[in-house]
């Protein structure tokens, strides 16, 4: 059987697993909250106040995305191998002529698609709803930017989640690592770094470099630089970098760096899964 057909078989089984899992409901609820934020706060408010409030609304949406997407990606994948090992699925599947690589690729692709595709549908659907039903002018450029950055951010944390899944066997520890990875991503934003700056008098460039290595920070800057590149929006680190490298570079960095982090983490997880005991 070809590698592609093995991937397809693994992906179909994993899709069935995802369809029936509680995680999908959690993911759906999270996206629903985003939709409510976008519709109720954004479109409804703009009909009252006009488009002057749209920038603030979009910023709220960006902040919601930055908080929710890493957590969704981590919870989607961090337990995938441990759970399959514990419930006996891995033992049964790998007693079949199914390669480890095919299974890993199939599962990774399925989980990533289940994270990204509903978000694309949600954002585009809401934009069309706003345009057609409520007569709003939709900032399509921002929608596309938000989707590109979100997809990249999801890739980063899906990769990190898979790395956790291959390294950590204990389910309780997996939860700890997920919370830790998420908290690090969120906490290493401006407010955390400014705290570091103030407390230990760390060199500003070192802090900004550290900030730029955080995929969430990059995604945030890329999203917000599409709006008004003001200090109040971007924060000190983003404002410094925006002035230093320009908004376009910030956007490129916000899309590319999380994708690189995700690819690196995925590759690590892939190699480890291929070389370690399956059960």
């Amino acid at each position: 059987m070809t590698f592609g057909r093995q991937v397809l078989a693994a992906a179909r089984l994993d899709l069935a697993e995802v369809r029936r899992s509680r995680w999908l409901w959690f993911c759906g609820a999270a996206y629903l909250i985003l939709a409510v934020v976008f519709v109720l706060v954004g479109l409804r408010e703009s009909t009252v106040m006009g488009f002057t409030g749209m920038g603030r609304v979009l910023m709220s949406l960006c902040n919601a995305l930055l908080l929710i997407l890493p957590l969704l990606a981590l919870t989607a994948v961090a337990s995938v191998i441990g759970r399959a090992r514990d419930d006996g699925s891995l033992e049964l599947l790998f007693s079949q002529p199914l390669s480890r690589s095919a299974w890993f690729v199939g599962v990774s692709a399925t989980r990533y698609a289940v994270l990204v595709l509903p978000l694309v549908a949600l954002m585009v659907g809401l934009a069309l709803y706003g345009q057609l039903a409520m007569g709003q002018r939709v900032p399509w450029a921002f929608v596309v930017r938000a989707l590109a950055v979100s997809a990249s951010l999801l890739a980063a944390f899906a990769g990190i989640g898979l790395a956790i899944s291959t390294v950590v066997r204990n389910p309780a520890r997996v939860t700890t690592y997920v919370v830790l990875a998420w908290a690090l991503g969120v906490a290493l934003l401006d407010f955390g770094l400014i705290g570091v700056l103030l407390r230990w008098r760390v060199d500003a460039r070192a802090v900004f470099t550290l900030a730029a290595m955080n995929p969430v920070q990059d995604a945030r800057m890329a999203l917000l630089s599409g709006l008004e590149p003001e200090l109040s929006n971007l924060g000190p680190v983003g404002f410094y970098l925006a002035n230093k490298v320009g908004a376009s570079t910030l956007y490129a960095l916000g899309v590319a760096w999380p994708a690189v982090v995700g690819a690196g983490a995925w590759l690590f997880a892939f190699v480890r899964f291929r070389t370690s005991d399956l059960v």
Partner: protein, 291 residues
């Protein structure tokens, strides 16, 4: 398929799960892998399937096992506890059928014989099936693939008597030429499926020989006797254990029952109201017969 294990070992941290296992399993042999919990049976079967890396050498038909895919297409495995997969029965049958290249109809026929109607349960999640139904599904998938090596871990533990009998019947036809490794202490499985016994203890092979002689020494019989007489001291002295309603029970080696029953009847006389002699349904290692 012929399997040769040379100095196979496996450690999990400080724990040695397998130590220096040397074993030859001839093509077509039907081997029971016995041993107490933690003796290394599961680790050994996982090493044979290539699921875990082990020290030493495993030869498959003379060729060193270096890649799991060398053997995966030629073996079928039935775990004791079926996985709790959320995928539907149809999805699992389809996926495994595609991987192994057999049609759904082949599985459906065997599953039907075992008492599982795939048309009826096809859309249900595997984890929503009862333990017996899941076991039937796994047995049908394993037998449909017509493997050269069949690894079974307590395969009929969740089956009713009818399904068990039908499985033995199918097994005799489908797996007649296959090499079989069976992890089980159930006497009916051992009698029906194996001709050779390997016993593991603390990760080492401590017995490797024909099944008939091994089982003859260890087949347990259970004697149950209902006594209403005045003096049960003979029963207690003979090792019987008191139960409810005047019943006394003792497990003995098979050969012992022929001597014990007449002795009991002679000693207890008319006080004996009923007598039942049955095979123990499990092989009680070390508790009866030879330790």
């Amino acid at each position: 398929m012929q399997l040769v294990l040379k100095h196979v070992g496996k450690r999990f941290g400080a724990t040695a799960a397998l130590t220096d296992v040397d074993l030859t399993i001839a093509r077509g042999a039907k081997v029971a892998l016995l041993g107490p919990n933690g003796s290394g049976k599961t680790t050994l079967t996982r090493a044979l399937m290539g699921l875990i890396a082990a020290d030493g050498e495993i030869l498959i038909d003379g060729t060193p096992l270096t890649d799991r895919l060398q053997i995966a297409g030629r073996l079928a495995y039935v775990p004791q506890i079926a996985p709790q997969m959320a995928a539907s029965v149809d999805e699992i049958v389809r996926a495994i059928g595609e991987l192994r290249g057999f049609p759904r109809a082949a599985v459906a026929t065997i599953a039907g014989d075992l008492g599982l109607d795939l048309a009826q349960v096809g859309r249900r999640a595997m984890r929503a099936l009862s333990g017996g139904m899941r076991q039937k599904l796994l047995l049908a998938l394993a037998l449909a693939s017509r493997p050269e090596l069949l690894i079974l871990d307590e395969p009929t533990a969740s089956l009713d008597a009818t399904a068990r009998a039908r499985f033995f019947d199918h097994f005799a036809r489908v797996a007649a030429d296959a090499t079989v490794i069976l992890c089980s202490h159930r006497l009916d499985e051992l009698r029906a499926l194996v001709d050779h016994v390997v016993v593991l203890a603390e990760g080492r092979v401590v017995h490797d020989g024909p099944a008939a002689a091994y089982l003859a020494d260890r087949l347990a019989a259970v004697i149950e006797l209902r006594y209403r007489g005045p003096d049960p001291r003979w029963l207690a002295a003979a090792g019987f254990v008191a139960g409810h309603g005047g019943w006394w029970t003792k497990a003995v080696a098979a050969a012992e029952k022929l001597a014990l029953v007449p002795a009991a009847l002679a000693a207890l006389g008319a006080g004996v109201e009923d007598l039942v002699i049955r095979d123990s349904d499990r092989l009680e290692l070390g508790e009866v017969g030879h330790a």
